[in-house]
Subunit: 111 residues, 2 copies
Amino acid sequence: MSKLNDNTLAYVADYFKALAEPTRLKMLNALQDGEKNVGQLTEVSGCSQANVSKHLSLLAQYGLVKRESRGTSVFYSIADPSVYKLCELVCDQVVNRLIQEADVKKLFMVG
Amino acid sequence: MSKLNDNTLAYVADYFKALAEPTRLKMLNALQDGEKNVGQLTEVSGCSQANVSKHLSLLAQYGLVKRESRGTSVFYSIADPSVYKLCELVCDQVVNRLIQEADVKKLFMVG
DNA sequence: TGACTATATAACTACATAGTAATATAGTGC
DNA sequence: GCACTATATTACTATGTAGTTATATAGTCA
Protein backbone atom coordinates (compact mmCIF):
# COMPACT_ATOMS: atom_id res chain seq x y z
CA MET A 1 0.00 0.00 0.00
CA SER A 2 2.98 2.28 0.48
CA LYS A 3 3.28 3.03 -3.21
CA LEU A 4 -0.25 4.20 -3.73
CA ASN A 5 -0.52 7.58 -5.38
CA ASP A 6 -3.31 10.04 -4.67
CA ASN A 7 -5.33 8.85 -7.62
CA THR A 8 -5.36 5.25 -6.45
CA LEU A 9 -6.12 6.32 -2.90
CA ALA A 10 -9.18 8.12 -4.23
CA TYR A 11 -10.32 4.94 -5.96
CA VAL A 12 -9.86 2.89 -2.81
CA ALA A 13 -11.69 5.50 -0.76
CA ASP A 14 -14.57 5.40 -3.23
CA TYR A 15 -14.75 1.65 -2.93
CA PHE A 16 -14.98 1.93 0.84
CA LYS A 17 -17.57 4.66 0.45
CA ALA A 18 -19.75 2.28 -1.54
CA LEU A 19 -19.70 -0.02 1.49
CA ALA A 20 -20.16 2.74 4.04
CA GLU A 21 -23.94 2.71 4.00
CA PRO A 22 -26.21 0.39 6.01
CA THR A 23 -28.82 0.08 3.27
CA ARG A 24 -26.24 -0.97 0.71
CA LEU A 25 -24.71 -3.46 3.14
CA LYS A 26 -28.15 -4.89 3.73
CA MET A 27 -28.64 -5.35 -0.01
CA LEU A 28 -25.22 -6.97 -0.45
CA ASN A 29 -26.09 -9.16 2.48
CA ALA A 30 -29.31 -10.20 0.77
CA LEU A 31 -27.41 -11.05 -2.40
CA GLN A 32 -25.30 -13.63 -0.60
CA ASP A 33 -27.68 -16.41 -1.50
CA GLY A 34 -27.92 -15.51 -5.16
CA GLU A 35 -29.25 -12.87 -7.51
CA LYS A 36 -32.34 -10.84 -6.74
CA ASN A 37 -34.39 -8.41 -8.78
CA VAL A 38 -35.09 -4.83 -7.79
CA GLY A 39 -38.49 -5.67 -6.37
CA GLN A 40 -37.07 -8.29 -4.05
CA LEU A 41 -34.29 -6.00 -2.94
CA THR A 42 -36.82 -3.26 -2.30
CA GLU A 43 -38.71 -5.60 -0.04
CA VAL A 44 -35.58 -6.77 1.80
CA SER A 45 -34.20 -3.30 2.35
CA GLY A 46 -37.44 -1.69 3.45
CA CYS A 47 -36.68 1.39 1.35
CA SER A 48 -38.53 2.96 -1.54
CA GLN A 49 -38.02 1.51 -5.00
CA ALA A 50 -36.42 4.73 -6.22
CA ASN A 51 -33.93 4.69 -3.39
CA VAL A 52 -33.01 1.05 -3.98
CA SER A 53 -32.53 1.76 -7.65
CA LYS A 54 -30.13 4.57 -6.85
CA HIS A 55 -28.13 2.44 -4.42
CA LEU A 56 -27.92 -0.35 -6.96
CA SER A 57 -26.67 1.89 -9.70
CA LEU A 58 -23.98 3.16 -7.34
CA LEU A 59 -22.95 -0.38 -6.41
CA ALA A 60 -22.84 -1.28 -10.09
CA GLN A 61 -20.80 1.81 -10.87
CA TYR A 62 -18.11 0.76 -8.40
CA GLY A 63 -18.16 -2.77 -9.73
CA LEU A 64 -19.67 -4.42 -6.66
CA VAL A 65 -22.71 -5.88 -8.38
CA LYS A 66 -23.57 -7.10 -11.84
CA ARG A 67 -26.76 -6.09 -13.66
CA GLU A 68 -28.76 -8.32 -15.95
CA SER A 69 -32.22 -7.54 -17.24
CA ARG A 70 -34.52 -10.41 -18.08
CA GLY A 71 -38.05 -9.66 -19.18
CA THR A 72 -39.39 -6.69 -17.28
CA SER A 73 -37.16 -7.42 -14.31
CA VAL A 74 -33.56 -6.46 -13.64
CA PHE A 75 -31.53 -8.93 -11.64
CA TYR A 76 -28.53 -7.92 -9.59
CA SER A 77 -25.82 -10.23 -8.29
CA ILE A 78 -22.49 -9.98 -6.53
CA ALA A 79 -19.69 -9.15 -8.96
CA ASP A 80 -16.88 -10.40 -6.74
CA PRO A 81 -17.51 -12.51 -3.63
CA SER A 82 -14.34 -11.18 -2.03
CA VAL A 83 -16.45 -8.30 -0.81
CA TYR A 84 -17.71 -10.64 1.89
CA LYS A 85 -14.17 -11.17 3.12
CA LEU A 86 -14.02 -7.45 3.68
CA CYS A 87 -17.24 -7.51 5.61
CA GLU A 88 -16.09 -10.43 7.71
CA LEU A 89 -12.88 -8.65 8.60
CA VAL A 90 -14.77 -5.55 9.60
CA CYS A 91 -17.32 -7.55 11.55
CA ASP A 92 -14.53 -9.16 13.52
CA GLN A 93 -13.07 -5.75 14.24
CA VAL A 94 -16.41 -4.36 15.32
CA VAL A 95 -17.26 -7.36 17.47
CA ASN A 96 -13.86 -7.31 19.15
CA ARG A 97 -14.30 -3.65 19.86
CA LEU A 98 -17.75 -4.13 21.33
CA ILE A 99 -16.48 -6.95 23.52
CA GLN A 100 -13.59 -4.80 24.65
CA GLU A 101 -15.92 -1.96 25.53
CA ALA A 102 -18.20 -4.35 27.38
CA ASP A 103 -15.22 -5.58 29.39
CA VAL A 104 -14.20 -2.07 30.30
CA LYS A 105 -17.74 -1.33 31.36
CA LYS A 106 -17.80 -4.44 33.53
CA LEU A 107 -14.51 -3.41 35.08
CA PHE A 108 -15.96 -0.08 36.09
CA MET A 109 -19.14 -1.63 37.39
CA VAL A 110 -17.18 -3.99 39.64
CA GLY A 111 -14.72 -1.36 40.83
CA MET B 1 -22.94 -11.87 7.83
CA SER B 2 -26.48 -13.09 7.32
CA LYS B 3 -27.41 -12.68 10.96
CA LEU B 4 -26.40 -9.06 11.28
CA ASN B 5 -29.09 -6.85 12.69
CA ASP B 6 -29.55 -3.23 11.73
CA ASN B 7 -27.53 -2.00 14.66
CA THR B 8 -24.49 -4.05 13.73
CA LEU B 9 -24.86 -3.08 10.08
CA ALA B 10 -24.67 0.53 11.16
CA TYR B 11 -21.45 -0.18 13.07
CA VAL B 12 -19.92 -1.90 10.07
CA ALA B 13 -20.99 0.92 7.79
CA ASP B 14 -19.38 3.41 10.16
CA TYR B 15 -16.15 1.46 10.11
CA PHE B 16 -16.12 1.54 6.31
CA LYS B 17 -16.95 5.23 6.43
CA ALA B 18 -13.84 5.85 8.48
CA LEU B 19 -11.86 4.33 5.62
CA ALA B 20 -13.80 6.08 2.88
CA GLU B 21 -11.67 9.21 2.81
CA PRO B 22 -8.40 9.65 0.87
CA THR B 23 -6.79 11.81 3.54
CA ARG B 24 -7.45 9.27 6.25
CA LEU B 25 -6.15 6.45 4.04
CA LYS B 26 -3.02 8.47 3.46
CA MET B 27 -2.51 8.86 7.20
CA LEU B 28 -3.10 5.18 7.86
CA ASN B 29 -0.68 4.48 5.07
CA ALA B 30 1.92 6.69 6.73
CA LEU B 31 1.43 4.84 10.02
CA GLN B 32 2.45 1.54 8.48
CA ASP B 33 6.06 2.01 9.48
CA GLY B 34 5.29 2.95 13.06
CA GLU B 35 3.78 5.69 15.17
CA LYS B 36 3.87 9.33 14.17
CA ASN B 37 2.90 12.50 15.96
CA VAL B 38 0.35 15.00 14.70
CA GLY B 39 3.01 17.27 13.24
CA GLN B 40 4.49 14.48 11.16
CA LEU B 41 1.07 13.38 9.97
CA THR B 42 0.24 16.96 9.07
CA GLU B 43 3.34 17.08 6.92
CA VAL B 44 2.63 13.72 5.28
CA SER B 45 -1.00 14.48 4.51
CA GLY B 46 -0.49 17.98 3.21
CA CYS B 47 -3.53 19.20 5.13
CA SER B 48 -3.94 21.78 7.84
CA GLN B 49 -3.16 20.79 11.40
CA ALA B 50 -6.78 21.33 12.44
CA ASN B 51 -8.01 19.05 9.71
CA VAL B 52 -5.51 16.31 10.58
CA SER B 53 -6.52 16.54 14.20
CA LYS B 54 -10.16 16.07 13.27
CA HIS B 55 -9.42 13.07 11.08
CA LEU B 56 -7.31 11.51 13.81
CA SER B 57 -9.98 11.89 16.43
CA LEU B 58 -12.44 10.21 14.07
CA LEU B 59 -10.03 7.33 13.42
CA ALA B 60 -9.50 6.98 17.17
CA GLN B 61 -13.23 7.06 17.80
CA TYR B 62 -13.77 4.09 15.49
CA GLY B 63 -10.86 2.24 17.05
CA LEU B 64 -8.54 2.39 14.06
CA VAL B 65 -5.70 4.20 15.76
CA LYS B 66 -4.35 4.47 19.27
CA ARG B 67 -3.48 7.78 20.91
CA GLU B 68 -0.60 8.34 23.30
CA SER B 69 0.61 11.72 24.43
CA ARG B 70 4.24 12.08 25.39
CA GLY B 71 5.51 15.51 26.36
CA THR B 72 3.90 18.12 24.21
CA SER B 73 3.38 15.71 21.36
CA VAL B 74 0.64 13.20 20.72
CA PHE B 75 1.62 10.02 18.95
CA TYR B 76 -0.80 7.96 16.93
CA SER B 77 -0.33 4.35 15.88
CA ILE B 78 -2.35 1.62 14.21
CA ALA B 79 -4.69 -0.07 16.66
CA ASP B 80 -5.15 -3.24 14.64
CA PRO B 81 -2.93 -4.09 11.66
CA SER B 82 -5.74 -6.09 10.07
CA VAL B 83 -6.90 -2.80 8.60
CA TYR B 84 -4.14 -3.25 6.02
CA LYS B 85 -5.64 -6.55 4.95
CA LEU B 86 -8.80 -4.65 4.15
CA CYS B 87 -6.88 -2.14 2.11
CA GLU B 88 -5.02 -4.86 0.27
CA LEU B 89 -8.25 -6.60 -0.65
CA VAL B 90 -9.73 -3.37 -1.90
CA CYS B 91 -6.57 -2.50 -3.80
CA ASP B 92 -6.73 -5.85 -5.56
CA GLN B 93 -10.34 -5.21 -6.47
CA VAL B 94 -9.58 -1.74 -7.74
CA VAL B 95 -6.55 -2.84 -9.71
CA ASN B 96 -8.43 -5.74 -11.29
CA ARG B 97 -11.18 -3.39 -12.24
CA LEU B 98 -8.80 -0.89 -13.79
CA ILE B 99 -7.07 -3.66 -15.73
CA GLN B 100 -10.42 -4.93 -16.94
CA GLU B 101 -11.42 -1.46 -18.09
CA ALA B 102 -8.09 -1.04 -19.81
CA ASP B 103 -8.62 -4.34 -21.63
CA VAL B 104 -12.07 -3.28 -22.76
CA LYS B 105 -10.64 0.00 -23.98
CA LYS B 106 -7.90 -1.82 -25.87
CA LEU B 107 -10.51 -4.10 -27.41
CA PHE B 108 -12.40 -1.11 -28.71
CA MET B 109 -9.28 0.58 -29.97
CA VAL B 110 -8.25 -2.48 -31.96
CA GLY B 111 -11.72 -3.22 -33.28
C1' DT C 1 -52.48 0.00 -30.19
C1' DG C 2 -53.34 0.55 -25.02
C1' DA C 3 -53.25 -1.00 -20.19
C1' DC C 4 -50.14 -2.83 -16.92
C1' DT C 5 -45.90 -3.78 -14.43
C1' DA C 6 -40.92 -3.12 -13.37
C1' DT C 7 -37.12 -0.16 -13.19
C1' DA C 8 -34.73 4.26 -13.74
C1' DT C 9 -34.31 9.18 -13.50
C1' DA C 10 -35.09 14.10 -12.21
C1' DA C 11 -35.92 17.68 -8.99
C1' DC C 12 -35.90 18.52 -4.53
C1' DT C 13 -35.04 18.66 0.83
C1' DA C 14 -32.46 17.59 4.82
C1' DC C 15 -28.45 16.26 6.86
C1' DA C 16 -23.55 14.93 7.37
C1' DT C 17 -18.94 16.18 6.86
C1' DA C 18 -14.35 17.86 4.73
C1' DG C 19 -11.90 21.86 4.95
C1' DT C 20 -10.60 26.59 6.87
C1' DA C 21 -9.54 30.32 10.21
C1' DA C 22 -9.43 31.59 14.71
C1' DT C 23 -9.14 30.32 19.34
C1' DA C 24 -8.54 27.29 23.34
C1' DT C 25 -5.96 23.93 25.93
C1' DA C 26 -1.99 21.74 27.71
C1' DG C 27 2.91 20.67 28.31
C1' DT C 28 7.85 22.54 28.60
C1' DG C 29 11.46 25.51 30.01
C1' DC C 30 12.83 30.06 31.43
C1' DG D 1 4.41 33.54 36.59
C1' DC D 2 5.45 34.08 31.17
C1' DA D 3 6.70 32.81 26.47
C1' DC D 4 6.72 29.02 23.39
C1' DT D 5 5.22 24.90 21.02
C1' DA D 6 1.94 21.10 19.96
C1' DT D 7 -2.60 19.60 19.70
C1' DA D 8 -7.61 20.12 20.03
C1' DT D 9 -11.85 22.56 19.47
C1' DT D 10 -15.22 25.90 17.77
C1' DA D 11 -17.81 28.27 14.30
C1' DC D 12 -18.33 28.50 9.78
C1' DT D 13 -18.80 27.45 4.51
C1' DA D 14 -19.23 24.43 0.74
C1' DT D 15 -20.15 20.11 -1.07
C1' DG D 16 -21.96 15.46 -1.35
C1' DT D 17 -25.59 12.34 -0.77
C1' DA D 18 -29.60 9.58 1.35
C1' DG D 19 -34.25 9.78 0.97
C1' DT D 20 -38.80 11.36 -1.14
C1' DT D 21 -42.21 12.38 -4.77
C1' DA D 22 -43.34 12.54 -9.28
C1' DT D 23 -42.31 11.25 -13.79
C1' DA D 24 -40.06 8.76 -17.58
C1' DT D 25 -38.65 4.58 -19.82
C1' DA D 26 -39.09 -0.09 -21.27
C1' DG D 27 -40.97 -4.78 -21.52
C1' DT D 28 -45.30 -7.82 -21.56
C1' DC D 29 -49.73 -9.15 -22.74
C1' DA D 30 -54.45 -8.34 -24.18
